[in-house]
């Protein structure tokens, strides 16, 4: 279990470095779509929400999971769609 935790922590730290490296390359013109796009990615918590809403032994867990699915899905769908809308505007005028 402890080695498990350390490997999770390793992934966490390395991913932050990847994030810093990738994000610094984004020009200020695209900072709003970057924020909303990254925001959509943070909706990945939908994974946990699905796992909770899909259990069968407890109504409480299912309900918590259900609300979490709704929230995360708003985040995911709203985030990617609105980012797409914004980015299309930049594309239009070439």
């Amino acid at each position: 279990m402890e080695s498990d935790f350390v490997s999770l922590l390793t992934i966490f730290v390395l991913a932050i470095f990847v994030g810093v490296y990738v994000i610094t390359k984004v020009p200020p013109t695209l900072h709003t779509p970057l924020t909303s796009g990254a925001n959509a990615i943070s909706g990945i918590t939908i994974v946990g929400a699905i796992l909770a809403a899909g259990v069968e032994h407890s109504l409480l867990i299912q309900v918590l999971g259900f609300v979490a699915v709704v929230f995360a899905m708003i985040n995911v769908v709203g985030g990617f769609m609105v980012t797409d809308r914004m980015l299309q505007m930049f594309k239009r005028k070439e």
């Binding site: 498990d4 935790f5 999770l8 992934i11 966490f12 730290v13 991913a15 994030g19 810093v20 990738v22 994000i23 610094t24 200020p28 695209l30 900072h31 709003t32 779509p33 970057l34 924020t35 909303s36 796009g37 925001n39 990615i41 909706g43 990945i44 918590t45 939908i46 994974v47 946990g48 929400a49 699905i50 796992l51 909770a52 809403a53 899909g54 259990v55 069968e56 032994h57 867990i61 309900v63 918590l64 999971g65 259900f66 979490a68 699915v69 709704v70 929230f71 995360a72 899905m73 985040n75 995911v76 769908v77 709203g78 985030g79 990617f80 769609m81 914004m86 980015l87 930049f90 594309k91």
Partner: protein, 462 residues
């Protein structure tokens, strides 16, 4: 599906996110990048549905349909000017979802595994705190940006003491929760306390500091996701969450640098609530020259280069399309038109850029601060539309000014400056702007959009 296969799929999803973010480095590839990110999300969702833990689907499907409808309607209907509050709201939902996930997971533990590992309960407590602060902080930010609550910083006496006490209480509850994970009510108590902290923190921050707040909350929503990943031992969540966490923090630092302020100063400073320095009468007294559209049109007759500096006022009056029409008109007369954007113009990073893009203004003409600052001396007319503090020369000249040292757009170095503004009221910093009283400055008092439309008429007639 085997566990290994599922984890490989999460890895593919995470690679999609990284690759998608990489493609956001250029407007030409950005649309594809965003879609690759969405594809990654789809992979993650489908794979999760195949996990053997997932046995019932009613709640999941109902939640996904409801969430999709709400998300899609929000995304389709939101105006470009309202993008900051939209992002704030979405941040809040992300943070809220992580908060609920950790709560559900803790409840699950209390039913089937009374003694979860220490690192798991620590992660649960962390998700609870970050998730609650993100949720309530984002809702307050949304309310301020949408105009539902007063935008100015709301400062309670002894707020540092109150926040400190609440912070200590939250820490104590975290400790208790980690010691006794079976008492799930501790989780919800911690949730309430952290919610109050999130609420109080953001209510104290004024409107123009919202770019920093939005970035920070964005970062938190990512970190909440990563923390939930630790709870579930899920690599996909951890990688994606930390990517978002990093993105928010980097933007935060860029914004702070552009205001020459530290992050703690933005978060706890209560900026804009103090007044000091010379009064408006001392600065402006008898030196303000008001102008008319006709006079500006005459200036354009001899101009070769015009720079437009947009600020939040442009967003408020929805003047971006009118500005584009004016720029087209000027260009048809052989005048070079460019745009200069301050990093903190507007209410979120890049806010002005998306408004100009909405009006089909090519991004090549939209220049960053450092680039455009080199060109003001060769500029005949600079038009400042709805911006104030970011063009205040006090930042360069007066070391005692609240904005001292803040990098600004040096519009005062151009031959003539036209400031489009409704009145002489101060900007967020609450200080008068000596730019308005300079010899080469003309004040054009009007609402942003109407001002530009009248100006277009004047140029056409002249």
């Amino acid at each position: 599906m085997s566990l290994a296969l599922i984890n490989v799929a999460y890895l593919i999803a995470a690679v999609c996110f990284i690759f998608g973010l990489m493609q956001l480095s250029h407007p030409r590839t950005a649309v594809r990048g965003n879609r690759i990110g969405a594809l990654g999300m789809l992979i993650a969702i489908v794979v999760t549905l195949l996990e053997k833990e997932v046995v019932t689907f009613e709640w999941i499907i109902a939640g996904m349909i409801l969430g999709t409808i709400i998300g899609a309607v929000l995304a389709i209907r939101v105006k470009m000017t309202a993008m900051p509050q939209m992002v704030a709201l979405l941040n809040g939902f992300g943070g809220g979802a992580s908060l609920l996930v950790a709560g559900a997971e803790l409840t699950k533990f209390s039913l089937i595994e009374p003694n979860p590992a220490l690192q798991t309960t620590i992660a649960v407590a962390a998700t609870c705190v970050i998730g609650s602060v993100t949720f309530w902080g984002s809702l307050v930010a949304y309310g301020k940006l949408e105009g539902l609550i007063n935008e100015r910083s709301f400062l309670i006496k002894g707020r540092h003491l109150i926040n400190g006490a609440l912070g200590l209480l939250a820490l104590f509850l975290c400790y208790e929760l980690i010691q006794h994970p079976a008492y799930t009510s501790l989780y919800w108590l911690l949730c309430v306390v952290s919610s109050v902290v999130g609420f109080l923190l953001v209510i104290a921050i004024g409107g123009a500091d919202m770019p920093v707040v939005i970035c920070l909350l964005n970062s938190y929503s990512g970190l909440a996701g990563a923390a939930a990943g630790f709870v579930l031992s899920n690599n996909g969540l951890i990688i994606s969450g930390s990517l978002v966490g990093a993105s928010g923090i980097i933007l935060c630092m860029i914004m702070c640098k552009a205001m020459n302020r530290s992050l703690p100063n933005v978060l706890f400073g209560g900026f804009g609530a103090v007044d000091s320095g010379p009064s408006a009468d001392d600065v402006y007294g008898g030196r303000i020259k008001a102008t008319t559209p006709e006079e500006i049109a005459m200036l354009f007759d001899t101009a070769r280069r015009v720079v437009i500096v947009p600020g939040y006022g442009l967003a408020v009056s929805q003047a971006q399309h009118a500005v584009r029409d004016l720029a087209n008109l000027l260009e048809s007369k052989g005048i070079e038109v460019e745009y200069g954007i301050h990093p903190v113009a507007g209410r979120m990073p890049g806010h002005m850029n998306i408004l100009l893009a909405e009006a089909s203004i090519p991004y090549e003409k939209v220049k960053e601060m450092d680039e455009v600052n080199n060109s003001f001396e060769q500029t005949d007319v600079t038009m400042v539309i709805g911006a104030n503090d970011v063009v205040n020369p006090e930042a360069r000249t007066n070391p005692n000014s609240p904005i001292a040292g803040m990098p600004i757009l040096d519009v005062d170095r151009s031959k003539t400056v036209v400031v489009v503004k409704r009145s002489l009221s101060p900007g967020f910093a609450g200080i008068p702007n000596p730019l308005f009283a300079l010899d080469n400055t003309l004040m054009y008092f009007a609402d942003g959009k109407k001002a530009i439309l009248d100006l277009i008429t004047a140029v056409k007639e002249g």
